[in-house]
Amino acid sequence: MNLSWPALDDTVHDSQRLFRQVLGAMSEPGTVHELVVPTPPAQPQKPLLGAALWGALLSLCDLDTTIWIGAELDSPALREALTFHTGARITDDPASADFALLTHASFDPRTPFAVGSDTYPDRGTTLLVAVERLENDSNGNTKGERDGQSGWRLSGPGIAESRVLDIGDGAGCRALMTRLAGNRASFPQGLDAIFGCGARLAAIPRSTRIASAEARVDSREVN
């Protein structure tokens, strides 16, 4: 069973390379990184986890970490694969999870993930979210106006001026981005999110200011 869930070819150098890409994504929010990782198998009647998130899990998780898995992704095969490859503990309590594995469709803002405390804000859950679309505006589309697709304008640390990231426009995506935008109000407490779409990966840490791309364009016109 586990043979179908691939490991890294070279644990030492592959996990270093993947970590540097995750670090790049986290330090420059909204940048999209293409990870070279073996693709995990599709599970019947389950959304795809994607190679990027699988790579992030393999490079970041070990005996010291706990993972919470959203119901729509959860399966005995995934649990077994994670335990086998990383040794991480699987938890049912989102508040004690270091990493949470979920999809945009099922994101529920009421799930009580750990957000850290004011004295130890680092003790928060990192969300690993499988999304169906992951685009930013670096390839010439500057205003998030691509075919009426919804984008989110990011600014703050790691971003020179602003950057538009599009993770899709379902209700779950909006709920998720609204929750992440709420990080500013509770800073330094908050949730950090890593998005995976196939082999592509991007991140939004809690320090990022998030506005709907359209709203920002409007306000610029007013000014």
């Binding site: 330090s27 004295t119 130890y120 020179a160 950090d192 320090s207």
Partner: protein, 277 residues
């Protein structure tokens, strides 16, 4: 090197530091505790920086190590040799050619570019430590954003000397939230922290703390409206390259009072001399 994992640290330690680094980047300026390991060099020789470098370094990376700006001083040479032996990475003295730069107490004069990572060695990561010895208290002060005492400390300088006399490890505020110790870099380098395209990571080995400034982050040096932040200036130019805008070291050349001022950044100075010649 036989008998050691790539870059000395074991994989589980690297993962622990990597997870902490991600949190540090997500909360700019906040000091993340990490399980610092004993390294084959004494505390004070850059064990924090070395652990961070070991955790991020890849086989393809080109490493530069500087100590007070110089590539050829003891600390820089020994750390560079350490990584040559345990990671087999290529090293350089050229700031522009390096992917990862580990530094003790300077930021290179040559502007850094996007994609580079600067790793600082930090002796005492807590900027409030000399004001408040209790870790519990300083942690609470950071949580409550209670930084008035830091301004009082700077004000005491003004009351006593007429100007802010803090010249190195000059406290900064990161992204308008955390007051952070930029490590003992001269305040001359503080403006380079602001909006720098490179990722800056800070590691304190003895205190087991790491923190980060992501690229393009707002970093302000604390000051007062009527006593704005100022950097050091010299009446001299570098005696070797003629630079009038770099950080200068004063070098005693004989026992008759002879002295000269030279760039502390050796790579910058040599590059300039090469261009002039």
């Amino acid at each position: 090197m036989n008998g050691y994992n790539f870059a000395y640290l074991d994989e589980q330690t690297k993962r622990m530091i990597r997870r902490a680094l991600l949190k540090a980047v997500a909360i700019p300026g906040y000091q993340v505790p990490f399980g610092g390991r004993e390294m084959p060099m004494p505390y004070g020789w850059g064990t924090g920086g070395v652990q961070l470098t070991a955790s991020i370094l890849g086989a393809d990376d080109i490493l530069k190590v500087i100590d007070q700006g110089a590539d050829d001083t003891t600390n820089a040479v020994s750390i560079r040799h350490f990584f040559q032996r345990v990671a087999g990475v290529e090293t350089t003295t050229a700031t522009t050619a390096a992917d990862v730069i580990q530094t003790r107490h300077r930021i290179p004069e040559t502007p850094l570019r996007s994609g580079q990572i600067l790793v600082f060695q930090v002796p005492i990561p807590e900027p409030l430590r000399f004001i408040e010895p209790s870790e519990q208290e300083t942690r609470l002060m950071h949580a409550l954003e209670e930084y008035g005492v830091m301004h009082v400390k700077l004000y005491e300088d003004i009351a006593r000397y007429g100007h802010i006399a803090t010249t190195y490890a000059y406290p900064v505020k990161v992204d308008g939230r955390y007051v952070m110790d930029p490590s003992p870099i001269p305040k001359f380098d503080n403006p380079k922290l602001d909006g720098n395209p490179a990722l800056m990571l800070f590691g304190a080995g003895r205190e087991k703390r790491l923190y980060a400034i992501p690229p393009y982050t707002r970093v302000e040096s604390l000051d007062f409206e009527d006593h704005p932040f100022e950097i050091q200036r010299w009446e001299h130019s570098c005696a070797l390259c003629g630079s009038d805008h770099s950080y200068l070291d004063e070098v005693i050349t004989d026992d008759k009072g002879g002295r000269m001022f030279v760039c502390s950044d050796t790579d910058y100075c040599q590059t300039r001399r090469g261009e002039v010649a």
